[in-house]
Symmetry: C2
Subunit: 187 residues, 2 copies
DNA sequence: TTGAACTTTCAGAATTTTCTGAAAGAATAA
DNA sequence: TTATTCTTTCAGAAAATTCTGAAAGTTCAA
């Protein structure tokens, strides 16, 4: 594999973006490389292509492993380990969401719940709790919603995405539909 | 306003989370403070409560302003400026999404499109372009989808969220509905 | 069991990000 | 105008993060 200008610009940009998704630049670059490489790559090759140390590659791959974004391949008669990105683009997006939820949303929800259970000591805390409850409800909603989207088949997810704002029209209709077919389901 | 243990734990946690949402710890803390304070706060008070320098507060407020998350209040007979969080929790979440989309998704989509336009120089680049196209399509889908969600009324959004995985059932039904009422809409 | 070929770890170096505080700027009142 | 009270800016300090490379660890063939 060689780093042509095209591939280079993709890898570098992905590196910058990576830091927004919860991992650092190098990790992003390593991942980008594995995603666009048809062949699995070994650690040395990754280090050479990106111009980073062997140790750094090792750390990066470990991190990507913990996100379940890469897998190790063993080649016939090779002692080295080769690395490959796992699953389809959709799977990857799902894993990133999932992982971020676990690492960020869940602890936040826990903290907010704890605070909501505390006895408010004064007027200020009463107001604070009210706001915190709003935030908690919003995050909980979003969390549950995204989780249920993830459980949808890729096929249905796609339909939903394609609907875009058309989802508004469907909803107008849905109220009646749901209340007839399944009274008091959740809302 | 005083930093009771309850409020402190909220503010600090929000600070940590803030960095995940595109701004740094201090900015997150300042924002948390403004969100749970019923009264607008002045810059000095914020600095004192958080134990950070006056200059840092100024930078933080500027940043939050650029995200349109805070607004300045002028009090009768006061020379100081007071700051307040803007809008409801939903509005805030929307602004953060919006801002991140502009800063991260849009540039990425542009880059990916550029790469897709390039002539592939060899087999490797052909494969790379294929993958890049997949990523592009996914991101574009997500971007359009979230944008159209944002244009929904809070009311409808709420219904949608509450639906959770029930959305799957609605979809089964939707195919027929949409193709009858609006043939060849988008999907 | 040894040695070759690899991987991982981690202390300290390098880099990047954030923060401070002094100085400059702005608004207002007298 | 000047004095006062606030805000902003930004160079350099401090802190946090990331990276390197040498050493230790692992695996396997012979």
């Amino acid at each position: 594999m060689q780093l042509t200008p095209m591939i280079e610009s993709f890898v570098y940009h992905f590196g910058e973006m990576g830091s927004r998704w919860g991992f650092n630049r190098t990790v992003g670059q390593i991942y980008a490389l594995l995603v666009i490489s048809e062949e699995p790559l070994c650690a040395n090759e990754i280090g050479d292509l990106l111009g980073i140390s062997r140790g750094n590659v090792s750390m990066g791959l470990k991190e990507l492993g913990s996100w379940q974004l890469v897998q190790v391949i063993h080649k016939q008669g090779e002692r080295r380990e080769f690395y490959q990105s796992r699953g389809s683009i959709w799977d990857m997006a799902n894993r990133v969401f999932e992982e971020r939820r676990k690492r960020e949303m869940d602890p936040t929800l826990t903290l907010l719940r704890d605070i909501m259970m505390d006895e408010a000591a004064n007027q200020e805390e009463i107001y604070a709790q009210k706001r915190i409850a709003e935030i908690h409800d919003l995050l909980e909603n979003i969390t549950e919603w995204t989780q249920s989207l993830q459980s949808l088949s890729p096929d249905k997810l796609n339909t939903l995405m394609k609907l875009g704002s058309g989802v508004g029209k469907v909803l107008e209709f849905t109220d009646t539909f749901l209340s007839k077919k399944e009274p008091a389901k959740k809302a």
